[in-house]
């Protein structure tokens, strides 16, 4: 094709210039960065709201806001973190950037759809922000929009629901794009079971995005209709059924937790072999366990509703299937540990972020088993224990991996190395602060402190103070990390092609990659994606660069 007469000495930043070359780009790498910058922005907004909530909970009684504002803050915090940050996070940023490179091609299958997804994301984000300005203030229902309160609240719930609808659409289209990409564009020498595990994680995720998101979309639309026409779909005062809403909501919103975690597990499955310099243990088991989790994930939504009114039979079945999910999850963890065991481990901040993930996710997962057990859940339901549990999985799990991935692929994306020393410090603060904050919330929750309250009984004061101090350390760590990465992206040492000695395809292209990704034929092993006997051959390229 004609437009391809592009010099491979130019990286994808230099190939084109100007604002429009970014916001209307069809290049998967640029779209990834558009997502990265928008998601990071919203992440910081979400963090600021979290900071405010913790400030409010520093002492009993009102501190910095009134109860209604507190409700609006945790709702906005939840909606931002879920719909604007964590759902798109890894697929839209690292999936977009690295999936095509890792399977040996030059773009996703449907580039225009890819750009459209980002625009939908921006439109959805603007709609969500619009609730701050239009109507009777932002929603105060909690991110779950439970009926009947979401029907009767006088705040601007409808617009937020429509925003979530649009964001869901964006997520669906990203998933669709990845499925087509993986089916159609894998390199000829790369059959399914020779794909990098990150691609497997994205593939399983994409199916969930595709098959679960429409349900929540239509459900949220139903709430909008209910608010507009007062018909009594979900509002019991009008003869509706609020439990029906919960079913419809969780049919999506449980599977979506795997949209959040499966790509993260995929990334950990990349970082660990590279750090241990050996092939992954149990490749097929890890790949297929992603699919198993995706599949089982459809049948466990009832565990969010143990106290909402369901038959005992249903509750026992949901509880049992929930336990089953632990099996494929544990398969992954054991395989990661087995890969590290007796490997020649290179300790880098990348690896430590991944091990911090394993630690946090262990707590998140084990506390999850307690919620999954019927009898125990009745006691911890709707306490800050639950809040701590899902922060351990989503924040300590997915977001930690997201930040770790930012370090792992940093040299590839920006072509420079980051400051390792600062990176260790940032990770240290983040990890310690994180565990103080949510460890304290976990404990105070077991003691009975309810969630979503702006006030609490005096006996909870000590642990709440601990939690708030933890949040300061945590935020300090995050800010330090951001400072380090931004500074390094501009001033860091120039990165080689393969700083961590990886063998997957992204380490065989220049850092940062040229517009069409590859500047020479890539090397693939017969023995799967993590064959480190190829390392020498791969690294030869760097020693005698062809074009420079």
């Amino acid at each position: 094709m004609d437009s391809h007469a592009i010099d491979s000495n130019l990286n994808f930043y230099e190939a084109k210039r100007g604002l429009f070359s970014w916001i209307f780009t069809l290049d998967h790498k640029r779209i990834a960065l558009l997502y990265l910058y928008s998601i990071s922005l919203f992440f910081l907004v979400g963090v600021a709201l979290g900071f405010l909530m913790r400030l409010e909970l520093f002492s009993p009684g009102g501190q910095v806001m009134d109860p209604r504002t507190y409700n609006q803050v945790f709702t906005f915090h939840g909606v931002i973190m879920i719909f604007l940050v964590i759902i798109p996070s890894i697929p839209a940023v690292f999936g977009n950037f690295f999936l095509p490179i890792m399977i040996g091609t030059d773009d996703v299958a449907l580039p225009r759809l890819n750009l459209f997804s980002w625009w939908l994301y921006i439109i959805g984000a603007l709609m969500a922000l619009g609730t701050l300005m239009f109507g009777n203030g932002p929603a105060d229902t909690g991110w779950t929009f439970y009926a009947p309160y979401s029907v009767t609240s006088d705040t601007n719930v409808s617009m937020l629901l429509l925003a979530a609808f649009v964001l869901g659409f964006s997520s669906i289209l990203t998933g669709l794009n990845f499925i087509v990409t993986i089916h159609r564009l894998r390199a000829p020498q790369m059959p399914w079971f020779k794909m990098p595990l990150f691609a497997w994680g994205l593939y399983a995720t994409a199916w969930i995005q595709l098959l679960a998101t429409p349900i929540v979309g239509i459900t949220l639309l139903m709430v909008v209709m209910e608010r507009t026409f007062g018909i009594g779909l979900f509002d019991p005062a009008l003869g509706g059924d609020p439990v029906l809403y919960q079913h419809l909501f969780w049919i999506y919103s449980h599977p979506v937790v795997y949209v959040m975690i499966l790509p993260a597990m995929g990334i950990v499955s990349e970082v660990i072999p590279t750090s241990a310099q050996r092939t992954i243990f149990g490749y097929k088991a890890i790949a297929l366990s992603s699919m198993a989790i995706a599949f089982l994930g459809y049948f466990v939504w009832g565990h969010h509703m143990f106290t909402s009114g369901m038959s005992d039979e249903a509750r026992v079945v949901f509880s049992f299937i929930t336990f089953l999910v632990a099996i494929p999850t544990a398969i992954k963890v054991f395989n990661w540990i087995a890969t590290l065991y007796k490997g020649s481990i290179y300790i880098t901040p990348n690896l430590l972020w991944s091990t911090a993930f394993i630690f946090n996710f262990l707590i998140g997962g084990l506390t999850g088993l307690i919620n999954g057990a019927l009898a125990a859940d009745v006691h911890v339901h709707d306490t800050t224990y639950i809040v701590a549990h899902f922060h351990y999985t989503m924040f300590g799990g997915t977001i930690f991996v997201f930040l770790g991935a930012l370090h792992y692929w940093f040299p590839k994306i920006w072509g420079r190395m980051y400051n390792q020393k600062l990176a260790y410090w940032a990770l240290g603060f983040t990890f310690v602060g994180f565990n103080i904050l949510y460890g304290a919330m976990l404990t105070v929750g077991v003691k009975g402190m309810p969630r979503r309250y702006y006030d609490y009984l005096p006996q909870f004061e000590f642990l709440n103070k601990v939690a708030t101090v933890g949040s300061w350390i945590l935020i300090l760590g995050i800010l330090l990390m951001i400072y380090n990465l931004i500074r390094s992206a501009r001033k860091g040492e120039i990165a080689p092609r393969n700083p961590w000695n990886g063998v997957t395809l992204e380490w065989q292209v220049p850092s940062p990659p040229p517009l069409h990704n590859f500047d020479r034929p890539f090397i693939l092993s017969e023995n799967g994606p993590y064959d480190f006997s190829l390392l020498e051959k791969i690294n030869e390229v760097e020693q005698k660069p062809l074009d420079h």
């Binding site: 391809h4 010099d7 040996g104 030059d106 669709l176 018909i231 419809l248 069409h516």
Partner: protein, 206 residues
């Protein structure tokens, strides 16, 4: 200095890939409506009698006419694709125009039907409606919601077919490159298919 062209490029034309994308999108559409069908089933089960009684007010003739219209339009779309394959552009365009005309006829019918109901006060907010049983109101609400959402899909489908026409005229869709045309047709069949389920649920089940 050139660049290395990967063996399987995302910038190549890939008809299979485009069709796969369309099929996946159709899955999501079916699930979107699936949520509504589920709610319909639940409330029909709960208010069996009331659903039955209020359904008597539906105009079966108009509904049946619209069913025939949509099925015919599915046929004309399919024929237009066949015509395209045989390089008969003019016939393909003509058949697409007929399809869009049928879509228009469907919407006009729909308009009169809704208008009639609204005129009689069988609509959210009207006094008559407020005095109905809850189940009856629910039926009407779901009727407006589901056929309304479907109507929106009819409009979108017609717009897509109009784009297909434009592309044929501009020579962008040809005998050897008609995937966009096929995808437009697939979408149109989905619109038809959903109606095939809506029709009995709202008009025929008494």
């Amino acid at each position: 200095m050139g660049y290395y062209k990967v063996p399987i490029s995302g910038h190549n034309r890939d008809d299979e890939g485009s069709k796969l994308g369309m099929w996946l999108f159709l899955f999501t559409e079916i699930l979107l409506f699936g949520g509504l069908f589920l709610v319909y089933a639940i409330y029909r089960f709960k208010y069996f009698e009331e659903f039955r009684i209020i359904a008597e007010h539906m105009d079966i003739t108009l509904g049946a006419a619209n069913t025939v219209i949509l099925i015919t339009s599915s046929l004309t779309v399919a024929l237009s694709i066949t015509a395209m394959k045989k390089d008969q552009d003019n016939i393909a365009v003509l058949l697409l125009f007929i399809t869009i005309a049928l879509a228009l006829a469907f919407m006009v019918n729909k308009f009169f039907e809704w208008n009639e109901h609204i005129h009689h006060g069988l609509v959210m907010g009207a006094d008559l409606f407020n005095n109905l049983q809850h189940g009856e109101g629910m039926f009407l609400f779901l009727y407006y919601f589901m056929t309304g959402l479907h109507g929106l899909h009819v409009v979108v489908g017609a717009i897509i077919l109009a784009i297909v026409i434009a592309k044929i005229i501009n020579g962008k869709i040809t005998k050897d490159n008609y995937t966009f045309h096929e995808n437009g047709g697939l979408y149109w069949h989905l619109v038809d298919l959903i109606w095939i389920y809506l029709f009995p649920l709202f008009y025929l089940l008494h």
